[in-house]
Symmetry: C2
Subunit: 463 residues, 2 copies
């Protein structure tokens, strides 16, 4: 006979008390594996509770596997293998795993838009979307992005970059890394990727993360060096023809044609055109994208709103040649839409109503001023041994070539000690090259004049 005393607490069903009491007895070994439990009726009578209460407790124990029921024979305690004591693996307490760096001035990353984000307009548009849409905001939606947004992006690309594509070829994703992960899946295992050196380090990092083969290829004044690209054996090349990061090179038309010819001559060759800051060209007309001349479908175009709207708006896109689109759909049939529908609608409306281009004009002007101001402050400073300054005509960074013997590591260390965070050109090289030593890379967007002035003063002190 099993007799339990119940606390009969308010809010706790009686069956739950019984379930817990039985479970405790099983776990403590007081009820042993194979032992038969009293019948529902006997248990009910012994404890002065209803048969239903017993049934509910037994059901829960069966669901969790503590007891089994055997028709006609009754209920039995199950065999439960206890957890063996495990040597607690040492788990150091690390405190907060992620800390935002605190610098007096951070030239290493662009704090895009913290000060210039068009809050009023953005909030107005989000509120509009909230009022106008219901079901559309929660539907699973097209896994490649909402038609409304893709249509607006296609129209924008035509207006601003001379690219004429079907909205169907525009694929939306939660960030360039996300799209990259999908993209590299389309190509066979023996694919070799080429990246520029110096270049944007995130790209080879992503290739490494996916265990892909990549080669680095040097640069000259016209862009990526073609003979080196050809001898590298790579068949997919990642470039930013509009504005190389961090060299600032604009790929010459001659080199563009060479590159397109290279890609057109083999059906396994592709160019990934990373148009990351094409929107920020100040002193000359915007140069048409490589993609705009891609008659043979060899160019994959990528861009993002994270750099023009906000890093918190996770909407990036790529434009695939039509034959790759087919392959993309086959390869990603199990992937779902990765970005918020609300924000996709909001960005679509931003583009449709011209708010986005108005915003671009405003920040383009602002960044141009910030760049000019930074260059002026650098030129005024008498202690920094400046050989030459490049940049200011586009983008949101300048490179400062120095007449110094101080190593780049020492330069970074001393400036960090002064609260100034910066990179050197050599940080962007995937192979050492003395031509790129002694060059500071300064990202300037969204830094106010006071901070710039003091940061440059502090930089002067370290020499």
């Amino acid at each position: 006979m099993l007799k339990y005393s119940f606390e009969r607490k308010q809010g706790v069903p009686l069956y739950e008390e019984l379930y817990k009491a039985l479970k405790a007895d099983i776990l403590a070994g007081r009820l042993r594996a194979g032992e038969r439990l009293p019948s529902k009726r006997a248990m009910a009578e012994d404890n002065d509770i209803s048969v239903t209460t017993v049934l509910n407790a037994y059901q829960q124990l069966i669901t969790e596997g503590f007891i089994t029921s055997s028709e006609k024979r009754g209920y039995f305690v199950a065999e439960i293998q206890k957890i063996e004591p495990v040597p607690e693996t040492p788990r150091p307490f690390v405190g907060k795993y992620y800390k935002e760096d605190e610098w007096f001035a951070d030239f290493q990353s662009n704090n895009f838009l913290y000060n210039h984000f068009p809050f009023a307009m953005w909030k107005k548009v989000i509120r509009e979307i909230l009022s106008e849409y219901d079901l559309e905001l929660v539907r699973r939606g097209n896994p490649f992005g909402l038609e409304e947004l893709r249509t607006q992006i296609a129209a924008f690309l035509y207006r601003s970059r001379g690219i004429s594509v079907s909205p169907e070829c525009v694929i939306i994703g939660a960030g360039i890394e996300y799209l990259y992960a999908r993209l590299v899946n389309l190509f066979p295992e023996d694919t070799v990727y080429a990246v520029e050196t110096p270049g944007y380090r995130k790209i080879p990092d992503i290739y490494d993360a996916y265990d892909l083969r990549w080669r680095n290829v040097g640069m000259d004044a016209h862009g990526i060096r073609m003979p080196e690209l050809i001898s590298s054996g790579a068949n997919i090349v990642h470039v930013s023809p509009e504005h190389h990061y961090p060299l600032g090179t604009v790929m010459s038309v001659a080199r563009r044609y060479q590159l397109l010819n290279w890609a057109n001559s083999d059906e396994n060759r592709y160019i990934i055109e990373d148009d990351y800051d094409c929107e920020f060209r100040y002193q000359s007309r915007i140069i048409p994208a490589l993609k705009s001349r891609d008659s043979a479908g060899r160019v994959i175009y990528m861009n993002t709103f994270s750099k023009t709207l906000s890093p918190a708006v996770r909407i990036s896109y790529m434009v695939l040649p039509e034959h790759l689109l087919q392959r993309y759909i086959e390869h990603t049939r199990f992937f779902t839409n990765s970005t918020s529908s609300l924000e996709q609608y909001a960005v679509a409306r931003f583009l449709e109503k011209g708010y986005f281009e108005r915003h671009l004009n405003r920040i383009r002007k602002r960044y141009r001023q910030e760049g000019e101001q930074l260059i002026a402050l650098l030129q005024e400073n008498k202690r920094i041994p400046i050989r030459s300054i490049r940049g200011g005509d586009s983008g949101t960074h300048v490179t400062v070539s120095l007449d110094t013997t101080m190593s780049d590591a020492e330069l970074r260390k001393r400036s960090a000690e002064a609260g100034v965070h910066l990179s050197c050109l050599s940080d962007f090289c995937t192979r050492p090259d003395p031509r790129y030593d002694h060059v500071m890379v300064l990202n300037f967007s969204d830094m106010d004049e006071e901070t710039q002035r003091e940061a440059i003063r502090r930089l002067g002190e370290i020499f």
Copy 2:
């Protein structure tokens, strides 16, 4: 002498007209590679325009690489390799690449929440967040997710699943697929994954997409078969102990302990606990998660708000053991936050204010009714040769075992012809097993009674 006539259109700068005229001549070969252009002054005089206009046009041509300038010597037409005519690769016109299927009734996927989404509350919260926050909405943010949301998720997991973890171990991502892609990166190349058969097909699909090695392991009434798991050589296993999809099995406590012991006995072993519909248990108490008993840090817990809030809210999360967190940070340093900050704040508030649990209670009740209704309709139908029905006590699907010789392919085909989309259990098997033939899997969430009734009637007709 080069003389051009200008249209002098309003809004088009004169330098642009000159630039275009020169570019056209270069591209057409009328100005040949190496040819010297007139000096700025000569060009200005010949065309009766200012020297500045000529300078701007020449600058643009230099930027784009059409001409080069050589100090003291002048401006020269650059060598431009023309694009060779490329045989147009056949690109079939495919029309719209993505079509949403139109079925009279779709039992294949759960149309989670289209009818039950708490619009009023969701919109209210989004509006609140918009009023209260500015800068926080556009900052780059913690790449692992906003602290506010991770704190609320940790609290929710404690309340609802008995899981006690530091908010730091909760990683936010844009969908389970996204998190999976990050997760598999943490493990060495020789890792072997185990999936249940039958089971959720998306998981082996993802492994295939990343070229990972995986084995399938069979099921019994207690859950995944341990001897088979052990002999498979796998060291990471993906399971849904709370509610197997599509079998509906609840892993027994005995099996849970066996599985934990298996993982605890080797430091390369991990369990991925996919708790995809733990929120929908109707007829018994919620069973504590495997993760809640994970004293040795071998369990990776995954869940998503896409199934409980909306598939358009792309917020999923995983809970990592602390030692993996460290590795995660090293491996993903170049990944940025993948989800909308606005929606992260909104979900955090939903959790904090209890709106989420209120919403869960409401849809739990609703889904229970929908399940009961479907089972009743199936039982009433005299033409479907039903052997048994499983489900209805949790989740949003039932399985219907049939007494028929009709093949599953034929069954699917005939039901599709009747406008009814469904899967069979055999569709979820990664190896053939006749035990799982002749079983329909019906996902029922958010289908109204009329549709259910007519769909079941149509199903009856096909036998």
